[in-house]
Amino acid sequence: MSPAGRQAPEKSGASAAVVTAPRAERPSVLLAGNPNSGKTTLFNALTGARAKVGNYPGITVDRRSAKLDLEGGLGLEVVDLPGTYSLSARSAEEEVAAAAVLGLHEPVPAAVVVVVDASALRRGLYLAQQVVETGLPTVVALSMMDEARSAGIVIDAEELGRRLGAPCIPIVAPRREGLDALRAAIGDAVAKDADLPDVADIDLPEAATEKLEAIEAVVEDWLAPETLALRRAWARWALLSVGGDELPDIPEAVRVAVDEATREDDPGPLLIALRYERIDAFVDAAVTIEEGAPEVSITERVDRVILHPILGFALFAVVMALLFQGLFAWSDPAIGLVEDAIAALQNLVAGLMPEGPVKRLVVHGVIAGVGNVLVFVPQIALLFLFIGILEDSGYLARVAFVLDRLMGGVGLHGKAFVPMLSGFACAIPAVMATRTIESRRDRILTMMVVPLTSCSARLPVYVLIIAAVFSPDQGGFVLFAMYFLSVIAALGAAFVLRRTVLKGKKPPLVLELPPYRMPMGKNLALNTWERVRSFLVDAGTVILALTIVVWGLSSYPRDEGVAAEYAALRAEASQVIVESGALDDRLSELEGQETSAQLPYSFAATLGHAIEPVIEPLGFDWRIGVGIIGAFAAREVFVSTVGIVFGLAHADEESAPLRESLVAATWPDGRPLFTPLSGLSLMIFFVLASQCMSTLAVVKKETGGYRWPTFLFVYMTVLAYVVSFLVFQVGTAMGWGTG
């Protein structure tokens, strides 16, 4: 690991090659392990946490990798595989670990490190046993040794290693205990000089062996694995994975072979039973439980409170209230700072650049777009910090346990609760938070309904409209009704989508309730940073580009006459007003007026007029249409866009002049534009419509294609249109709130 090690003279020949070798040629070492086994902590401790985050081919699962330089000059690439209990897979996501170990899309690794939680040895050894069966050099890291010791579990690691056929190294990753020994064992494994007796393979009955050999024959045609052990491992993997699965790229011949082998006297259960029998024998030989170990674990004591029918719910409510308060209120100062910084930057750059299209593009397109991206960062960081704490402490699994029934009623996963709740603050971090849900179908369902929860960007729109068309004593009720509608819409949409577009058997709940553990600050910080970075790089670029497009639509084309008129006014002001503060105020006022004066010539206005016949049955005219188009940049932009349309640049939702303009606005025939009914229709449209391009950008990133964001946009927009249409038309026919 140390640079000095690489320069050690006796290794000069090899080390020179390693130092100059391109990264891609580093032998790869995979880190496999159960969820909650301490795998990520070990990865960070081994590699110094300089992870490179990429994607596995064709799938949105993060591939975290980092360099590891061993003493003696061996340079490796360590890959942190997704946590898994078994190599067997039913979906493309679950297949990632097996594909990496067995070498499906890339060459087989030089070695595999299986992280096994020493306090839950039997379960972790099942995965280790599967990996050993591949014949690849394997090292077992026995993690959480401190917990095992305090539970009175004494492990003879050498004995365990001899029986398993892979060296077992006890470690406590946070304290760096055992890491040197682990690095040495990895080096030996890669060099293939681990000093271990050969361990015989699992002894299957002849009938089962014959069935597996039939599968091996088709595996040979499919992948031509390098070794007999790998071919056998692939056959066993196929036996336990294929059939009733959603795996991509399994050749028909393999499906047929597995179907034939399992139709009668399925050898699969027997294979699993024999593996566990072997593991039980290892554990009996190598593990002793000390006398006087605590009978009731701390976790069990804590769970008696946390999963208590009354106390548990009370605590849950407090935790969720804190999370929500944090997202809503604590992120506010940071969001304010971002907005102020962007505004200051805009002013600064505006002062430095000459007037013209380039300046407008930079100030109102690019810098505003960067602001549109950065403004999400405080909430994303906070949410992932919270989720990291909930997940690493073990509480998130309890949330899923407690809420599974409630959420399951509409077909949602128990873990969908946190994303749904977060959606009331902002859909962007909420969509990203669906990653805690393992099944792809459950995750996509959650992503499809989260944008219906009433995010904080809708609030300014409600506030403006309620203040304009409802009396103060109706206002609170109307606002409540909008939030209620959004909850009903989200749950209803889940219920319907589950039975139509995302139809399928409810995935089983097989959920580990891990022991409670103190989250580690370093892991939390790294995880939060990786999420923020991934947002900035992947979704941020799309949001920036779309912001510029929306800005372009509402700013171009311009009328040269208007431009010349305002240029003259500016020049005049500069000559007449001497005091610089007053001059700035006047220039800013002129800029706002010019924006309003130019708007009728823009594409957005043309579009607004073009869609007027379509939105008129909802009670909206072209000006509201322009506001809706502007709202694609971010919903709250509706307020400032409508402000510009009504000649009131820089207006916010509390602005009295804007409210008065709305009240006074009429259709050409003199009917008022804003009535309680049309206001209601507009607010309902905002609750239901997919108007946030940032959400669409994040959904595209998280689902890995255009299919789901397109579906999301279409279904929400159609839903919004139909409901607003019905409300306005029925309301008009009944004569409700039209005057």
């Binding site: 039913r90 839950a120 379960r123 099942y126 009733g244 039973a273 709940l509 097989v510």
Partner: protein, 110 residues
């Protein structure tokens, strides 16, 4: 594909003498359909031994790979406040499954 698995001690493949120890002295019909007790009927705090796994193959395999095999001792630790799912303790760890899934696991009292 709706392949069902019935795995109990009478799996034909384990009938050779060498593997007979995997067979336990229980009924040979799939226990769940013969009205015997399943894990879903076990009371909180009670310990039961699994005698058979039955169900659609992918789920049955998943449960078995998590360690819910014939012969395994399972304690029902608690039921979630809303009545489902249930929390189990087996092989030194805690696992949660729904009653629907537990119905595929035939058990006998310890």
């Amino acid at each position: 594909m709706k392949v069902k698995v019935h795995f109990n001690k009478t799996s034909a493949l384990a009938s050779d003498e060498e593997f007979e120890h995997l067979n336990a002295p229980v009924s040979n019909a799939p226990a769940t359909s013969s009205g015997a007790r399943t894990l879903a009927d076990v009371k909180v705090g009670a310990v039961a031994v699994i005698t058979g796994v039955e169900g659609e193959r992918p789920l049955a395999i998943r449960l078995m790979e998590m360690g819910l095999l014939p012969g395994t001792r399972v304690e029902v630790v608690r039921i979630a406040p809303l009545g489902d799912p249930m929390e189990l303790r087996l092989r030194g760890f805690h696992l949660s499954i729904r009653r629907d899934e537990a119905r595929g696991l035939a058990v006998e009292p310890e």
